[in-house]
Amino acid sequence: MNWLLAMSQTVLFVALAPLLAGWIKCCKCRLQNRKAPSLFQPYRDLLKLTRKQPVVSDQASWIFTISPYIIFSAMVLAASIVPLIAVDLPTSASADVIVLIGFFSFARFFLALAGLDIGTAFGGMGSSREMTISTLAEPAMLMGIFALTMSASTTNLSLAIDFVLDEGLVLRPSFIFALLSLMLVAIAETGRIPVDNPATHLELTMIHEAMILEYSGRHLALIEWASQLKLMLYGVLIANIFFPWGIAERITPGDLGYGLLFIIGKLAFLSILLALSETLFAKMRLFRVQEYLSFAYLLGLLGMLSHIILEGAR
C-alpha cells in the first residue's frame, strides 16, 4: 500500500512539473505586461514534440541518443525520494539527500557529454559552462544542506522534515542562512535569470540551451521535461524542508488532499517570487557567476557555523 502511494506520488510529481513551468511563465508574462499563454501550454509543447520525428546528427554516437532517457530517469528517481504530499514513504529510505545530489550530477554528466558528442562549438561551450557553474554550485548546495541535516542529525529527507515539524516554529539562524543559500543555488542550477536565461538562444549568453541545441522530437521533450522536473524538485525541497506545515503525516485521504493543496499553494507562491526576481534582475556576465555562487557558498558555511556555535553548543 505504502509502495503504491509512493509510486503514485512520484507520478503526480512528474505530471505536475510542466504545470509549474506554465505557471511561472504566466506570472512572468503578467509582470512584464505581456499576454500570457495558457497554463497548459507546456503540456501541449511536450505532446507536440513526442509526435515529431527526431532528427539526429550523423556525427552523433549512442551517448547522444541514450542521454535523454538517462537524464529523465535520474530526475524521476530524484522526484521519488523527495516528499511531495506525504512523509514517511518507503522510497525515502532508499536514498538520502546526498544521493539526491548524486542523481543531479548523474544527469548533468550525461547532459554535458551529449553536448560534446556532436562536435560543434555550441555544444562544447554549453557543456563547459554548465560544468563550471554546477561545480561551484554543488558544494554551496551541500553546505546549505549540511547546515540543515546537522540540526536534524539525519540526511534522510523525510525524517528531516519530521524533525522540523516536531520542533514547531523555531527561529534558527542556521536555517535562514541555509534557506538563502539554497535559493541562490536553485536559481543557478535550474538555469534561471540572473545566471542563465531559459528563453534565449543568443550564443554569448546561453548555457543550458547550447548543450541541447541539436536535440529534437521526443529527445528534446524528455530533456525539457527533465529540466521542468528539476525546477520543481528545487521548489519542493525549499518549500517542504523549510516550511513543511501542511504535509500529510498520516496516510488518510483527507490529510493527503490537504497535503496536495498546501504544496500547490507553496509552489505557486515561490513561483511568484521567482518570476518577480526574473523580472527585476538582469542576467549576469558569465564570470560574475562565481561571485554569486561563492556568496551562496559563504551563506551555507555561515549557516553551518552558526549551527555549531549558536545551536549545538553543549
Partner: protein, 694 residues
Amino acid sequence: MILVLAYCAVLLSFASCLPPLLMQGRHNLPALGRLRMPGSLEEQRAQILTRQAVFGLLGLSGLFAALAGVSVLVSGEVMTGRIGLGLPWLPWQVRFDNLSGLFFLIIGIAISAVSLYGPGYVSAYEESKHPFAVLSLFSGLFIAGMLLVLLADDAFFFMIAWELMSVASYFLVAFQHDNPANRRAAFLYLLMAEIGALAIILAFGVLASFADGFTFDALRGAGLSNAWASIAFALALLGFGMKAGLVPVHVWLPEAHPVAPSHISALMSGVMLKVALYGLIRFCFDLIGEVHWQWGLVLMIVGTVSALGGILYAMMQTNLKRMLAYSSVENVGIIVMVLGLSMIFMAQNQPQLGALGFLAALFHAFNHALFKNLLFLGAGMIHHQTHELNIDQMGGLIKRMPKTGMLFLIGCMSISSLPLFNGFVSEWLAFQTALQVDVIDNGVLRSLIPVAAAALALTAALAAACFVNVFGILFLGLPRSRHADKAQEIADPGMLAGPALLAGLCFLFGIFPGLMLGLINHVAEQLLGASLPDGSSLSWLHLAPVSAEQASYSAPLVLVGALIAAGICFRYLRRSPATVMRRAETWDCGFGGLTPRMQYSASAFMMPFRRIFARVWLIDEQVKKDRQGAMDQDVAAIHYALQIQDHSWPRLYQPIERAVNRTARLVGRIQTGNIRTYLGYSFVTLIVMLWIIS
C-alpha cells in the same frame, strides 16, 4: 594453509621473472643461435609463448593473492610465521592479518586484470630496443616486493621489501630509457623514493629505540612519550606520504607514472600508492597504537589540500596519463583526509565513528585501485591504437573503439562518484562520517571538519567536470588528428578482458557495496577494536552505517527504479513508426563546413576554471599573431601556447636544490684534490677519535 596461499602468490611472482631469462639462455647457445633467424616464425612463436608464460604466472600469483586475501578476511585469523632469511639473530618475521589481507585482495585483483591485459599490450614493444626480459624481470620483482611489504612483521624485513618494490619500479619507469625525459623522471622518482625510505627508517628507529627489538610486536610495546610519538608520526607521514603522493611531495607522480608502460603505471598508481597507505595505516593505527586528534587534524588538512590540489592540477593536463597521475594524488588525498577524520573520532573516544571513517577510507582505497587501474589500462589501449596521449589530438574514438569507449566510460563514471558506481559509495560514507561532527566537544574541530567536508564536495564536483572533459574530448565529437581518425578497436581479446573485469567489479561493488564493506568491517574490528554496530547495517539491500534513522542508501532499489523509469519512457515513446529517428547533417548555422578544429578542445573546456581558480597554477599563456598585408591588417595565423606549472617547483623544490648546491660548493672547498691534504684529514680524524675513546 592461508599463509601458504600467500607464499604461493609471492613465489609465483618471483617465478614470472624466469621464463624470458631461460629463453634467452637457450637463445644464446651458438648452435641454436645460428639456426634461428631473428624475426622468423619460430622466433615469434617463442616470443608469444614467453609472454604468455610470464603473464600466466603473474595471473596465477594474482589469483592466489586475492584468494589468500579473501580467506583471511572471512576467517578473521591472524597468521604468523618466519622465513629463515635475513640477519642471523633476526629471521624475517611474517604476519598475515586482516589489514594485510585486504591489501592482498586489492593487489590480487589488479595483477589479475593486468596479466590478462599484458600479453597484447607488450607485443607493441620492439624486442631489440625494449627487451621483454627486462620488463618481466622487474615486474615480477616489483609485485613480489609489494606482496612482501604486506607480509612483513619486522622493521628490517619491511624495509628490504619496501626497497625491492621501490628499486624494481625505478627500472620499470626507466624502461623506455632512450628518451632523456624518461630518464630524468625515473631519477626524480628514485631520489624521492629513497628520501622517503630514509624518513621511514628514521621513524622505525624512533620506535625501536624505545623498544627491545625490531619485530613489530616489540615496536607495539614501545611506550613512547607524546613528543617522541609525534616525531615518529611526522617522519612516517613524510616517508609514506612521499610514496603515496601527498601534496607537496607529489611531484614524482606526474613525471614517473606517464612514462612507464601503461600496465605498469596502472599497478603503480592503482596499487603501489595503496601499499604506501598500508604502511601509514600500519604505522599509525597499529604500531604507535594510541592516536591523537592533532595527528588526525594534520592528516585531514594534508589530505584536503592534496585532494583539491590534485584535481585542480589534473584538470589542466593535456597528457592523458599525466592527468590520471594527478587524479591519483586527489584520490590519495581523499583517503588520507578520511583517515584523519577516523583518527580524530578515535582519539575523541568515539570508536564506532572512528571505525566508520576507517571503513570509508579503506573502501575508497579499494575502489580507487579498481577504477584507476581501469582508466590507466584504458589509456594504454588508446595509446596502443593511436600512438598518441595528448587529449587535444583525439576525438570521435567512441565510434572507432566502441568497446574501449564503454569500459572507459564506466571508469569515468566511477571516479566522478556517480550513484550506482563504487566511487559514490565510499564518498557517501565519507560525507556520513564528516556529518557526525556533533559528538565532538572541541569547538575548533567542530567547525573545521565541515569545512573539510565542503572541500570534499568541491573536489567531487571538480572531478566530475574533469572526467566529463576527458571522456568528451577523447571519445566524442569529431577526430582532431589523423591518428585518432585511423584508430581501430583493440583486436586482442585479453586486452579487453582485463579492463572488463575491473569495470564489472566497479559496477558490482557500486550496487552491492555491503559485500566488500562487511569484509572491511572485520579489518576495523581487528585493528581498532571497534566496528560498525551489526551485520544488518551493512545488509545487501540497504546501507545504513550509523543507523537507519540517520541515513540509508540502497543501490539495488535505485537501480530497479532507474530501470523502471527508463524502460517506461523508452517503450512508450518509441511506439509510433512515424517517429523513427532520422539521421541528418549537423546544423552548421547555414555557413557550411564544420571542421573538427571548430570543436571545443580540452584547454578550451577548462578555460572558465582556469580563470576562476587562476591563482592555483602558474599559467603562462601566449597568443602570437602572424600579420600580413599592406599595413599588417590581416591576421594570417594565430599561435597559441599554454604552459601550466606546479607551484611546488619554484616554491619548494628549487630553493631546496639551490641550498643543496650551495652546501655542496662549501663542502667542495675542503676537497683540494691534493693527496697530502687528505692524509692530513685522516690523521686529524684519527687523533680526534683516539682522544674521544680514551
